[in-house]
Subunit: 235 residues, 2 copies
């Protein structure tokens, strides 16, 4: 007769695992000796090895018992289902590895390369890092909400670099970042922005929900910008 430790050793599992199998009804509880110790025979070793064999193959414990008593056909069916599950999990892990591989270096971390390039162009314009960060955040939000629009948005943005007046405004806004919200120069800037907006042609844009989100991010970044936006929005 074997103790639980010997049984476990014979089957190559831990004592805790054996008790766990008892707990969930997978392995029958054996007789106890006078002091309450479990006592096993060789048949228990065989049962335990069979359980481990299935578990090692990835069969969920909850299904092992059912499978051990299943006929050829249902067995094959169940094995196929479990194998499908394993395949799916492998696929997921491989996808994760691909994403992992994309996580390299600075902003590239959370943005596609094309957007990183846009941010680089902004920097080369002489725009401050803090404004670049705000812009980056907006791209992160846009990429998350309308990934299908992203190429178009990037194209429009890139085209806008050729608009000298817009670039002048952009740099001016950058400078205005930490002006006092009551600074009189803001009114002038706002007027220029309205004039520019009046001339530009309409093009693709993110949805209204995303637009509101982006606007709220802008206004929250700088009190001066908040004032600026309310001035621009005013009739």
């Amino acid at each position: 007769m074997l103790t639980i430790g010997q049984l476990a050793a014979h089957a190559g599992v831990t004592v805790r695992a054996v008790r766990h199998y008892h707990h969930c009804g997978l392995l029958a509880e054996p007789e106890r000796d006078s002091s309450g110790y479990r006592r096993y025979d060789a048949a228990a070793v065989v049962d335990l090895i069979r359980i481990r064999t299935m578990a090692d193959a990835g069969v969920p414990l909850a299904r092992i018992d059912e499978l051990l008593h299943a006929g050829q056909e249902e067995f094959a069916e169940a094995v196929a289902a479990i194998d499908d599950d394993l395949r799916a999990r492998i696929r997921d892990l491989i996808r994760q590895r691909r994403r992992m591989a994309e996580l390299v270096g600075g902003e590239r971390l959370f943005l596609p390369a094309e957007v990183v390039a846009v941010l680089e162009r902004l920097r080369s314009l002489g725009v401050s890092e803090r404004t670049v960060r705000v812009e980056r955040d907006m791209w992160i939000m846009m990429a998350a909400q309308s990934p299908e629009l992203l190429p178009e948005l990037v194209a429009v943005k890139n085209a806008s670099f050729d608009d000298a007046e817009l670039m002048r405004l952009y740099v001016a806004c950058d400078e205005a970042f930490d002006w006092d919200p009551r600074d009189p120069r803001l009114a002038r800037l706002a007027a220029d922005m309205k004039a520019w907006a009046a001339r530009r042609q309409e093009h693709e844009d993110v949805g209204p929900g995303t637009r509101a989100l982006l606007d709220s991010h802008l206004t929250a970044s700088s009190p001066a910008w908040e004032r600026l936006m309310s001035l621009v929005a005013a009739p």
Copy 2:
């Protein structure tokens, strides 16, 4: 200002996940409004998206915060470590799939093909199914305990099929399975077995622990066999 539901929607996660991230300190708790509702700004959306991006790539939640604030170098290092982990998990799953594939059909389930062949030879000897099952269990135990010895053991077993006297004894033992333990024929059989054992040459065997296990399995299967074994063991 956003509610938790709106925040979650913007980032493409569930409300429960957001609360979970708060709980484990991954996402900062925002201000509450007068009725206790959480109120978020756009920056929270960005934070949440960054968290999801890492989580989707397989970074454990517990490490995301540390990684978000890590420098280039440590970041790359950590990413490599996590990637290793992913690789290991994929390897394990693939191994499981291989084992899964081996789980097809009857006894093959838990035994290598060579052992299944041995059992087939036993059956063709006219040995009863119940004895074959006992033999199969012993092979299961041997395969689990000394897999490296298995080829040798199988070879010895296969060779033994050419020993006519041994085969006679084997079939006789099979018939003796449910004799009364006091049956006088057992003494005769035991004597023949001892005579055979005296003549056979020593060869590789499983360890003493496994041998005891196998013996206990034999004696437990049939009272007649138990008697037989004690007769054989007696001087």
